[in-house]
Symmetry: C2
Subunit: 407 residues, 2 copies
């Protein structure tokens, strides 16, 4: 497997475009469209929030129906959540506009939204945007990059990646883009991710691979503990690579899953590091836990704690806060088994050893904590399961962004 | 029932004192001692954190043993959590110093700590503090107030209250003090609460009343979602009011429980409003939920959401964030049943009605949100259970306090 250029347009047969639709932002693009020139098998994962946005309900219908997917239309102004029947009608109007402009079935058109909850979308602007975009479809790398910029809200960098690998003698490409800083995201800006690949694979196996990989990547990041109403990941596979179609969990399937894991982990970490107001990527690695579930629970609790996040912002090796978060996570363990380290490019330092604090060199700790990526490394000494979670620090800017958002 | 002066020394037979022990702070008191001149039946509730501070383990032993309690010694410098055997030895040394100075059994001496996790307590300073305090025991209101100040860490105001009521023709007094801003508290400063009463009551009933009331008061506040390693509430009852001892859940028991509810709710709300960096008390009232548990889950999710808290700080009636938090709380409901209002002294405004946003007057909303106490009022229209939770807004000062804490 090798990392290649571009993102959502990297795989054969995929095109993208974007435009200034004026839904919320002025003087910037705020709509994007991803198109496959042939119908795709598709897989999706969606927010677990009981309050689901209209577009999440729309997309879930398509994924569950077993029908092909061919287009995704995204806007980055209004979330279309808590909008009742009018919100659902806006999804349908968008899909019908795509059917009219591009001649694809309206029920193969997914829609995704991100932005303020509880406001209605301006349907006329959406439809005008679709018409405009239908004339500028482009398979270039640049068009994919432009789409990844159009879906940003409070993101400070666009997020895209692509990889290529070989299956049954054919080159297969998987690319993707995402926005937001978490499955758990500030401002209801929402985590959105769109993956496109030219692999030939059965729908059931595509969904299985996507669900499994998402649970180890996107579901392991957090910015502020707020699970959005709009979280959506869609993966479209159009089969254009010409590989023997994957029907079993054979070696080809594992090759594809490795590529998927790379792409999802890359985008997930990039989102965590770009969490609102973040100055650092904050990583927690838990090893030798009793079970995979425990390892996940513990690592997520560490990166999710406001106090841990504030300590990371302050470059303070205040390890008690990290142990405390592990303690209330819900996982059972004995603190007398635990070893806790801080780690970064600048070094690795043990601060707590099997129940007892270690007197450590504060200057060395500060050097480690000052790096752009800081890892809390925990050895539970209770089993052989491990997990990694990603988050970011809690800064003044997080408060600023979120106290001001709607205005 | 009427509210009277003072706190922990208001009930007959209780004395308090405090001193500058120099454990962490300079030029301020940082140890307190509460003493009953006769042994007390006692009840306690403690942190659910798996990582329990040494003092929590010490106190739990006393409460569980069924033996009487007569003294509580508190320090506000170091949490004595994650300190291994040395930490437990510090508890014993403190209790033995009290035995020596005041002639009470060392296993009737509770100890409580709050402050930094993962540092060892200076036992010599603790013992010197106990010796000093044993000479200044005082039953005055002022001594109780001084004790409530000595246990503060990042608190900006001391917290105490007392009430009196009649049982079997006798006046009974219940007083208390607390520190911190939550069961769920910044800086591991920890929530501590100490209640003293002269009521005569059986231990089992005292514990039952305390546990029930705590779950509706202290357990319904949150500042940052971080459950401390040290949370402790202790209630001592010395029987000096001379009432007929309460042995059943009769009318007297209910009278006492009402007084207990008042005292605990008063102290809990005061902690939430004094959450680190807080500028407002933020309250969520959920009515007509399917079950009490759902009502609690929903109201706690609203006041616990970083995004809701930041919106409250920004005086932004961004109701989607509150609905979103309800949606990921774990409670099941249909958004088409929900009515959501913002409420304060300045008025009450419906913003979401059974699945659809209401276009509201932003100026009116701003007027409501600007008050010192802001309530989100939610009618679930699904049953008849209700609950209230309390928290505070998320401000720049919260980040400042917690990025700087240890230094």
């Amino acid at each position: 497997m090798k990392v290649t250029e571009g993102g959502v347009t990297a795989a054969k047969g995929f095109m993208a475009t974007s435009c200034e639709a004026g839904i919320k932002y002025k003087d910037r693009t705020d709509m994007a469209l991803v198109y496959s020139d042939t119908p795709c098998v598709c897989a999706g994962t969606f927010t677990s929030n009981v309050v689901k946005a209209a577009c999440v309900q729309w997309d879930k219908q398509i994924v569950d129906s077993g029908k092909p997917m061919q287009v995704v239309v995204i806007n980055s102004g209004i979330a279309n959540a808590c909008t009742g029947k009018e919100g659902f009608d806006a999804c349908e109007a968008t899909a019908k506009a795509v059917e009219k402009s591009l001649g694809v079935q309206f029920d193969s058109v997914a829609v995704a939204s991100t932005g303020v909850i509880g406001m209605q979308l301006p349907v006329d602007k959406l439809v005008a945007g679709v018409e405009k975009m239908s004339k500028t479809l482009d398979s270039s790398i640049e068009a994919g990059t432009a789409a990844s910029k159009a879906i940003m809200t409070t993101d400070t960098v666009n997020k895209e990646v692509a990889v290529s690998f070989e299956i049954s003698g054919k080159e297969v490409v998987l690319g993707g883009m995402s926005k937001g800083s978490g499955m758990i995201h500030p401002n209801m800006c929402t985590m959105l991710a769109f993956l496109s690949t030219d692999i030939a694979i059965e729908k059931k196996l595509l969904q299985e691979a996507v669900s499994e990989v998402v649970s180890d990547t996107f579901n392991m990041i957090t910015v502020d503990g707020d699970t959005s109403t709009n979280d959506t990941l869609l993966c479209m596979a159009n089969g254009k690579a010409g590989n023997d179609i994957i029907k079993d969990k054979n070696e080809d399937y594992e090759t594809f899953k490795s590529a998927l894991l790379y792409v999802c982990e890359f985008l997930a970490k990039k989102m965590a590091a770009d969490g609102e107001g973040a100055s650092k990527l904050f990583e927690a690695k838990v090893i030798n836990a009793k079970s995979k579930e425990d390892a996940k629970t513990l690592s997520k609790a560490i990166v999710g704690s406001n106090l841990s996040k504030a300590a990371v912002f302050g470059c303070d090796a205040n390890f008690g806060r990290f142990l405390c978060a592990m303690g209330y996570s819900g996982a059972q363990f004995d603190q007398n088994d635990v070893e806790l380290f801080f780690e970064s490019k600048a070094g690795k330092l043990e601060v707590f050893h099997r129940g007892t604090p270690i007197v450590f060199d504060e200057d060395e700790a500060l050097k480690i904590m000052k790096e752009d990526t800081v890892t809390v490394f925990v050895n539970m000494n209770e089993g052989d399961a491990q997990a990694t979670a990603w988050g970011c620090d809690l800064t003044y800017d997080y408060v600023k962004i979120n106290a001001d958002y709607r205005s």
